[in-house]
Chain length 371, copies 2
């Protein structure tokens, strides 16, 4: 969807002309009351569910959650996935031409915020004729967007589903993001953000950024279980190599994840998204009082967290729940005992998946007037 009207951004700039790439699943009903907006996290996109014809590897990032007969049942709901501004998966981003110069934005692409993304998503909803979503949902950074929706457009969503998220990053979260940024910014191939013109990609920086990020997505226990101190060459004598190559499975795994990521992800997008994460802090305008920040919400909430998530720990979700309860909002909170750390929100965990399924059953029942 192309937008010719300039978008005013929180940081002061504007995007003169932009495109949002989106996908939909299921059918919008006659009164347009069954739409669900799914917001994506750091390295995901509008491609939430299903696969593209002839490409069986192209499975959507939340395919276990969204689809026919799945927790967010596309036989009932009209699900929309939107790629956020600044991303590298189709919506206008730093690799696209700035209409003012004809050259790629690069590092001059404006720093966008969670609130900017929500503003753009709302304009897309306008164009699609969706006045109110049955639910807006997301995990991690996607959960921040859902939360922002509930505050910025309280009347436009009946339910808000916030999974493995937080009302703001901690100093430690910001610190890890800044390590990632410094790795990218100090890669000579970053070229001040104009690497596109030089035919290079700051792969080394992206690789290190992804490696450090990936560590924070997994739990210590899960890493211990999956990798422990297993050597990569266990078959060949189980000996240390005594060089700076790969000794341990965990090194091999992380480097592989880093390499893969650096092949497809855009460095400027990574910088932008980490800043959006850092900046999100809706309580900031209320002197840190999250209860006040959530005072004008009207949606019903489902909040979920995972016991071993040390990136956005259950404590952070409890802050959200507490602020909602203080506002006398309806809120369901699931703290799920799961071993997989932050990544758990993307994985198959029966208790988690069943909770979301049950919540969407209730949304559906509510739509039939049976709440």
């Amino acid at each position: 969807m192309r937008f010719a009207e300039p978008l005013q951004l929180q940081g002061g700039g504007t995007l003169a002309d932009y495109t949002l790439v989106y996908e939909t699943y299921g059918t919008l009903n006659a009164d347009k009351s069954n739409a669900v907006l799914v917001c994506h996290a750091l390295n995901a996109s509008h491609h939430v569910a299903g696969m593209y014809e002839g490409d069986p590897k192209s499975i959507g990032w939340w395919d276990n959650m969204v689809g026919p007969g799945k927790p967010v049942d596309t036989d009932r709901f009209f699900v929309i996935g939107v790629n956020n501004l600044g991303s590298c998966f189709g919506s206008t981003g730093p690799m696209h031409a700035n209409p003012a110069t004809g050259k790629p934005y690069g590092a001059s692409f404006p720093v966008v915020t969670v609130e900017d993304w929500v503003a753009a998503q709302a304009l897309l909803a306008d164009k699609l004729g969706i006045a109110q979503f049955a639910a807006v949902m997301g995990g991690s950074l996607g959960g921040m967007q859902a939360l922002a929706w509930s505050m910025m457009h309280p009347q436009r969503l009946r339910h808000c589903v916030v999974i493995a998220s937080t009302p703001k990053l901690s100093a430690q979260n910001i610190a890890f993001n800044d390590v990632a940024r410094q790795a990218i910014l100090s890669d000579p191939d970053y070229r001040g953000g104009d690497f596109y013109a030089h035919g290079v990609v700051p792969k080394n920086g992206l690789r290190v950024a992804r490696m450090v990020g990936h560590i924070t997505y997994l739990s210590d226990d899960d890493m211990a279980e999956k990798f422990g101190r297993k050597l990569r060459n266990a078959a060949e004598g189980n000996a240390y190599k005594f060089d700076f190559g790969i000794d341990f499975e965990i090194e091999s795994y992380l480097r592989y994840q880093g390499d893969k990521f650096s092949e497809y992800f855009d460095a400027n997008t990574y910088l932008l998204i980490t800043k959006a994460l850092d900046y999100f802090d809706p309580a900031r305008a209320f002197d840190g009082d999250l209860t006040q920040a959530l005072a004008n919400t009207t949606a019903e909430f489902f909040v979920a967290s995972f016991s071993t998530d040390w990136r956005f720990s259950p404590e952070r979700s409890r802050e959200i729940v507490q602020a909602l309860v203080c506002n006398r909002r309806r809120v369901t909170y699931a703290e799920i005992d799961a071993p997989h750390g932050h990544d758990a929100f993307l994985l198959e965990d029966a208790r988690y998946i069943n909770m979301v399924r049950a919540y969407y059953e209730r949304i559906w029942d509510g739509m039939k007037g049976q709440a």
Copy 2:
């Protein structure tokens, strides 16, 4: 102290000729029974205590622990600090000339292990005529050396003091080390380890390596308390900058720590020391059974850990204690409720400092036949 006899290394190589830089504090008594060896961690050195004449900033890294009237009282004990092989503070390391080629070792400096360091320290003790230490002590990586002493030379120490340490790194620990290594190795200024010849230093890599390391030394809570989401320009309007510069105090702090470190630390040394950390695993030769690994120890042990240390958590110290108890060793264990994460072992915490003081009082009493 120069050693002309080649040192056989665990990794198979040898160091043909090497020098160990060391400092001593206090006076060795007539029967040479009051010597204490202090082993250093990642970025420290032989300069444990005191300051150099005319340089008031040159305070030793454990000056709060070692000195006249301090917990390790140099009016009683003869304390030795040794700089480890491969370091960049004086002992033979990658920046020194390989006698075989006349050129700096660079990345060809052999990968040394905790056990190699202990072997070299034992040879130094031989030269100093010290048959048995009153205690060998260390924190973090230094604690690993103390533990290795208790296994490799059980008769040569009466007490073993292991603080904020672990019997082996976890997958997560190794993962963070590998991020640091990849940051250095992929810095173009690393030049395959021969940056000395090119008059450059892989500062960007070292900087990122230090930033990520530093995060793991601090507790989440401590970071929240010290930095939280404080903005650096709080005085100038408390506004986000909407660029990739510094917004938050924590970014400023970490980048400063990274910059400072990259000015004085050697990149090859950093790689070597992280490998020594990764490789340490005395239970490995016993099919993972730490109790068996510690079976031939004879020392009495003092083990301490800190509640908010998530790098080497109390659980890891408890593993050591349990294995010692199973071996019917005398062991004192202090799990100290302290807010400062892994760094706590270097800081002034009254309970911690007093525990160490009391333990050394007991060592002293034992030496007078009053145990």
